[in-house]
């Protein structure tokens, strides 16, 4: 089982196959050897006990809700309203867009978030002489930093909430301030060192732009925003009401499909269904490792780290999670690290919850390390290749690597100091 796991991880790193295909081949081999050759578990056990159904339901509900909100035009409206308000003051606009991007990513999936902010930036770039390359790359990095923010902001966060029972309000207290702090530091770096504007004349007067023009249907915008906010409120009250998170998310998604969008088909088309196959397949691989004791072998290998000072184990977890998430998708990183840390920390009595937070934070920040590590980075590269013929993806890494290191240092200090864990 350990060998199948390692081969799957290698396949994910070298990207020979699509990540979902690699995980599904790994899961198939796991079931073949585990059920039919060694007879350690049955296929039914693998499908019903290894796969965490509540996480899958939570992810499904959240993705449907967020995609519905993304399609409402709310964020195009807010973005253009900010442009009209700030006008031709590039430094203020840059700061506003960095925080807008982060806030956007806390509320909708990071792929449409980057598409929306990228489209707004590219549309105003010529008019305001903005250096598109700089803006788009920084926005992708802000997107990844924003993913730390709330429970619903990324799949690693949803896995944390589901596996460790972290609540919505805990995310607001612990990770949201860090997300804003990281974006603040990144914005300061951008303002200090980046070229924000191009030479030339301003082409279009943007003071007359009408943000409502970007909204197709005001009624849908109002309804989908109300459904989204009501669901968030129920997440907040989850401890008091006792309604499971996946039930709240799916309930909100049903109402969104019922009255929040015009075309449910359009919403279904925009969902990344591959993520469910990936999660299911990876849960089978990890579940089989748990069952066969392979996870104990991995945990023993990393145990010396957790026997050290808690601060060293905390830093090691954050950086391992961050760097590996720069090389492969952050979902397998989170799914693998969490059970390994759990076992290793149990043996050494290291603070498991702080290590879990460090895993999630590293997994989100690591997305800016390389241009292929996260959806916002890939979207940024695609936009720049279309709009800027001289752009090369390596330009992204020249910015992404140093900024991710700074962000991980900031997160590391924050994790040392934050008293609320």
């Amino acid at each position: 089982m350990l060998l199948i796991f390692l081969l799957t991880i290698i396949a994910l790193i070298i990207e020979k196959y699509h990540m979902v295909v690699a995980a599904m081949i790994g899961a198939s081999l796991t079931i073949f050897f585990g059920s039919f050759i060694y007879k350690i578990f049955t296929p039914e056990e693998a499908f019903t006990q290894f796969i965490d159904g509540s996480t899958l339901r939570l992810v499904l509900g959240i993705l449907l809700l967020m995609e519905g909100l993304a399609k409402s035009g709310l964020f195009q409206f807010i973005g253009l309203w900010v442009v009209r308000l700030v006008g031709n003051r590039p430094k203020i606009l840059f700061s506003a867009f960095m925080f807008l991007t982060a806030i956007l990513t806390t509320s909708i999936p990071n792929l449409p978030a980057m598409l929306i902010i990228g489209a707004i930036t590219a549309s105003i770039a010529k008019s305001l002489r903005l250096k598109l390359r700089t803006w788009i790359m920084y926005e992708a990095i802000a997107c990844n930093a924003g993913s730390i923010g709330l429970m619903i902001s990324s799949i690693p966060n949803l896995i944390l909430a589901s596996e460790f029972g972290f609540t919505f309000s805990q995310f607001i207290r612990i990770t949201l301030p860090l997300s804003l702090l990281v974006v603040y530091v990144t914005t300061l770096i951008g303002l200090k060192v980046a070229d924000l504007i191009e030479e030339g004349e301003q082409e279009v007067d943007i003071s007359s732009l009408d943000p409502w023009q970007a909204v197709r249907d005001k009624g849908i915008l109002i309804r989908s925003t109300a459904i989204f906010l009501a669901t968030i409120a129920l997440f907040f009250l989850h401890e008091k009401t006792g309604i499971p998170l996946d039930v709240v998310a799916l309930g909100g998604a049903v109402i969104m499909l019922w009255i929040g969008v015009t075309e449910p088909e359009e919403l279904f088309r925009s969902i990344n269904w591959g993520v469910f196959f990936f999660l299911g397949a990876f849960y089978i691989i990890i579940g089989s490792m748990e069952k066969t004791g392979a996870l104990d072998v991995l945990a023993k290998a990393v145990a010396p780290i957790y026997a050290m000072q808690p601060l060293i184990s905390l830093s090691a977890t954050l950086w391992i999670s961050g760097i590996t998430s720069g090389l492969i998708d952050n979902i397998p990183v989170t799914l693998t690290l969490l059970p390994v840390i759990k076992k290793a920390a149990e043996a050494s009595q290291a603070p498991i919850t702080r290590l879990a937070w460090a895993t999630g934070i590293g997994a989100n920040l690591g997305g800016s390390l390389t241009y292929f590590a996260s959806p916002p980075s890939v979207v940024a590269i695609s936009i720049l290749e279309k709009e800027d013929p001289t752009f090369s993806p390596s330009d992204f890494m020249k910015l992404g690597v140093p900024i991710t290191i700074v962000q991980l240092v900031v997160a590391n200090i924050y994790l040392f100091l934050w008293p609320l864990f």
Partner: protein, 79 residues
């Protein structure tokens, strides 16, 4: 520089460019109102000559002037 093999690896995500184009179009409409008009190629010119007009700034300027004079005449005619 990125190799062709590496570019191919990123290809599946390129569908996002279509979505990006739609979003950008919506946003540009809010910044500056625009319309799309379909014009078929006249018989007497080549495909290349005709397609090149899409990127011809002089042509776009002439079309803008035509729009202004056409609307002016229309307004006058309607009184």
């Amino acid at each position: 520089m990125e190799s062709e093999k590496e570019k191919k690896k990123r290809k599946p995500i390129n569908f996002v460019i279509k979505e990006y184009g739609k979003l950008k179009n919506d946003v540009e409409k809010a910044i500056r109102v625009s319309i799309k008009v379909k014009i078929h190629k006249p018989e007497s010119i080549t495909d290349e000559e005709f397609r090149a007009l899409e990127e011809d700034s002089e042509f776009k300027k002439r079309v803008e002037e035509l729009v202004i004079s056409y609307i002016k005449r229309k307004r006058e005619a309607e009184g």
